[in-house]
Amino acid sequence: MTEIMNIIIELSDEIYFNLIKEERYMAFVKGLGLSLQLTLFAAVIGGIIGLFIALARLTHNKTLNYIATKYIDIIRGTPVVVQLLIIYFAVFSSTSLPRTTVASIAFGINSGAYVAELIRAGIQAVDKGQMEAARSLGLSYSQAMYYIIIPQAIKNILPGMGNEVITLWKETAIAGFIGLDDLMRAADVVRGRTFSNYTPYLVIAIIYFYITVLMTMMLGKLERRMRKSD
């Protein structure tokens, strides 16, 4: 009996010290906000970069092709933490851009490489006859892409894009490396005050997990809606 009582007391103590005392839950709330913000901005930037890199890879222009291929190789061949630090300390060190912006750009550049490959595969999966039919009517390459190919490619791309956003969401946990107070950092800060072994990490693990669950659910809904038009 006393064993169980002890555990309950210990647990409520942990919760009290790590979340309630000095309104420490606010650190997590703020961290969550920042992490979500980073994910959103990076996803948008990554989407735009990815689209252009994918198109560059698909053209027959050798220079564009080369640049796009190298971009993808380099980004995929180096750790995202290293990219973040290089972009923060080397590329943007002399600017007065807010750190959140720099981190969004860094994550966006990283995600762009993966998105580019998704989009390229999605576009290439559209039947070749579609482009030929469009061109035979007199549509230009870009008109054919815009009206015919990309609308069909989106269905192929969407599931992978969802995965990419979920990956991005968890990758933002390294934003603390350039001094941003994201969700991960919130756990470190609280732990520094409470000296808890692991409770703050448990808290953010639960938060990361449930946001991912939420994203998966929204994605499933979107995919089901897209399938309805088939």
């Binding site: 039919a133 035979s136 007199g138």
Partner: protein, 240 residues
């Protein structure tokens, strides 16, 4: 109308067309027959530059396609094409399939284009399918929509790349009938086909292709009943 001069086409080391010369006159229906791999489809696809010739020239109304690559989109508007696999746009309704190009390329208003599409659909015998998506249509219906889509640009010539080869046998007739009607209306047509009956009945001229050249060309009467080339004879004896 279309003039082909010394047309060569290779895919890598594979030489598919080995010097094609021909002229297709206005109002003429030319059927291209021949064994698989003889270069029929490649020849047809060179006529609107879906395949780029390795050498040689294709003239449409006296304008060289290879010298005017920048204007290719304008030139292609004059040349309608119907594919073996239909290639309808699956994310658009029948109506949208037909009206897209006239609205985007000819500056037609939506209403005008839709009016025209309705008339074209009536012509190909499909009156109640405007708002269907292609995957709700049978093969024969799809191909007739594809013909209407190509006609919506008012092309001067229509290219048909084995238009009935992907169809169930009972649907071949409905597509051939539409093509027959089109030929009777005076449309200039180049038809790659395995339908010898159609070629004989509708064609003004038959090109027999084999191994990348036009081995024999003649009127259908002559070519089918009195083939001169040995390879034509052997091909016809297999398919007739």
């Amino acid at each position: 109308m279309i003039k082909v001069v010394d047309l060569y086409k290779s895919f890598g080391s594979l030489e598919v067309l080995k010097g094609i010369n021909n002229e297709i006159r206005k109002g003429e229906v030319v059927c291209v027959i021949g064994p698989s791999g003889s270069g029929k489809s490649t020849f047809l696809r060179c006529l609107n530059l879906l395949e780029e010739p390795t050498s040689g020239e294709v003239y449409i109304d006296g304008v060289s396609l290879t010298e005017h690559k920048k204007d290719i989109n304008k030139l292609r508007q004059k040349v309608g094409m119907v594919f073996q696999q239909f290639n309808l746009f699956p994310h658009m309704t029948v109506m949208e399939n037909i009206t897209l190009a006239p609205v985007k390329l000819k500056g037609m208003s939506k209403e005008q284009a839709m009016e025209k599409a309705v008339a074209l659909l009536r012509k190909v015998g499909l009156t109640d399918k405007d708002n269907e998506y292609p995957n709700k249509l049978s093969g024969g219906q799809k191909q007739r929509v594809a013909i209407a889509r190509a006609l919506a640009m008012d092309p001067e010539v229509m290219l048909f790349d084995e238009p009935t080869s992907a169809l169930d046998p009972e649907m071949v007739g409905e597509v051939l009938n539409v093509m027959k009607q089109l030929a009777n209306d005076g449309m200039t047509m180049v038809v790659v086909t395995h339908e010898m009956g159609f070629a004989r009945e509708v064609g003004d001229r038959i090109l027999f292709m084999d191994e990348g050249i036009i081995a024999e060309e003649n009127t259908p009467e002559e070519l089918f009943s009195n083939p001169k080339n040995e390879r034509t004879q052997s091909f016809l004896s297999k398919v007739l």
